[in-house]
Amino acid sequence: MAQNKVDINLLREIADLEGTPKGAYNIRKNGQLVSRGINANIDIVTKDDKPGIDIIIKDGTKNQSVHIPVIITETGLDELVYNDFHIGADCDVVIVAGCGIHNAGDKKSEHSGIHTFYIGENSKVQYVEKHYGEGEGTGEKVMNPRTEVYLEKNASITLDTTQLRGVDSTERYTKIVVKEGAEAIVMEKLLTHDKQKAVSEMDVILAGEGASSRVISRSVAQDDSEQIFYPRMIGDGAGFGHVQCDSILMGKAKIQSIPAIIANHPDAQLVHEAAIGRIAGEQLLKLMTLGLTAEEAEEEILNGFLR
């Protein structure tokens, strides 16, 4: 893989990658495939009808990983990519996605990834996604991810998404259908600053008996940034759903949290908790009595909150 410093940094930020990843991988840069690795259990095929790839994971694949990072270093690039994951039954895999944009120019760079997961019975998937932006240019860095997950009986997924700094505008949509006995855990971490905007909309559908889901969203909005959350937990079956949204406001930022819990089944059990507020003065004071400056105290509180 020919890589320069910018590429190496982006890959490290979004995928903790140093060099070639273990397991299967597909690295995309500026709209082009850079490198790909497959094995006996995991196949990756380029789509022929639209941009994107199919990732096919055989039944019973355990303790394997797939890395599919995307990096953009060209100003003015705008791409829409479809990635479909076909995961068999009885698997246990880790999927690391992520997008890093380095925009040194004055034109908008945009990546929209549409990820669809079909997860077979009894399979366990951990999905980790980081979005990151940097670059000295004035061009906007935009990411609009759309994630759909279909969990078969007793399957489970942990969606761990992080966007800390650097992305000017993001509109995220997530839809998860949880069949009987299946479980979906969503952990969303977001930090916006300056004039950034972020919208996250989510539908979790508890479709069968014993389906369960927990959504944990933690966000920090600084400066003049704006965030809007629409998490919706829909109990179509006798499942259990819990939504927890916590946000810290700083500067003149604005946050809206518009959650919904919707029970369409008499035995659905749905809980929602949400809180928005500034860092509590007592917390800052406490850390200052341990010898931290006000700025250091604030940083520690944010680091802990977004861990």
Partner: protein, 251 residues
């Protein structure tokens, strides 16, 4: 040595006037002494401790620590001079772990064993707590004991504890008094404990009684106990009464 000279603290009240919280506190605490500050609820004990730590800025008077005038120093500067204060009602932190707080307090990375040893000193079964979040999942007594542990982790010459016994079970309390006894036995730091507990008062070299924002009595423990017992009527009604009241308050 800690010297408080004519310390006053006033706050603006709703009527547009001012309320005196501290009314000219004069107090000298010699090095490596164990002092208990006691007195009626609302007497000004916490306000006094917060003023020493810099959480409250006094309206008048002076605070000297080892000869240095710290009256106008920031909280951070005082902390760096080795002054520590364990809050009466410690805040919780979402996401921060017990370990993180202990490390911030000690100023270094800590091994698991080191974290455990601080937690053990306040009667916490450490292994279960090191990686727990400092959020609302911890009980009041647990938060309070972790707060004390962070103060123990700090290298400090002046340790101030604000009602460390509040909300703590009997077993942990026994462990805590033992810890205070051990620290004081080394005579390496000055300890000020705000307390209503006889067993903590029993450890003290001196007792300071604060009421209405003033030091109303200050002297060796033996001498002061006689006064306190006399003033609080039959036996130790005051001590018992105050303790019950506080436990109600802390839940």
């Amino acid at each position: 040595m800690l010297e408080l000279k004519g310390l006053t603290y006033q706050v603006d009240n709703e009527g547009g006037g001012t309320t005196n919280i501290l009314n000219g506190i004069d107090l000298t605490v010699a090095d490596n002494k164990f002092i208990v500050i006691t007195g009626p609820n609302g007497g000004g004990k916490t306000s006094l401790a917060k003023t020493i730590m810099g959480l409250y800025q006094p309206t008048g008077g002076q605070i000297l620590w080892n000869g240095t005038d710290i009256t106008n120093m920031t909280i951070t500067e005082r902390a760096k001079l080795g002054i520590s204060y364990g809050f009466q009602q410690p805040p919780r932190f979402k996401g921060m772990r017990v370990r993180d707080l202990l490390e911030l307090a000690s100023g270094t990375k800590l091994t698991r064993d080191e974290c455990c040893s601080y937690l053990n000193r306040v009667g916490l079964c450490a292994a279960d707590y090191v990686d727990r979040e400092m959020d609302t999942s911890l009980s009041g007594g647990e938060v309070k004991r972790i707060e004390i542990a962070t103060i123990l982790a700090r290298p400090s010459g002046l340790l101030i504890f604000d009602e460390p016994e509040a909300g703590i079970d009997l077993w942990s309390f026994a462990k805590l008094t033992e810890t205070f006894r051990l620290i004081h036995g080394r005579r390496e730091n000055t300890i000020i404990v705000i307390s209503h507990q006889e067993r903590i008062i029993d450890l003290a070299d001196e007792i300071v009684m604060v009421s209405d924002g003033k030091v109303v009595r200050h002297g060796p423990k033996e001498e002061l106990m006689i006064h306190i017992l006399a003033e609080t009527g039959n036996g130790c009604d005051f001590l018992r009464g105050a303790t019950c009241h506080d436990q109600d308050k802390e839940g």
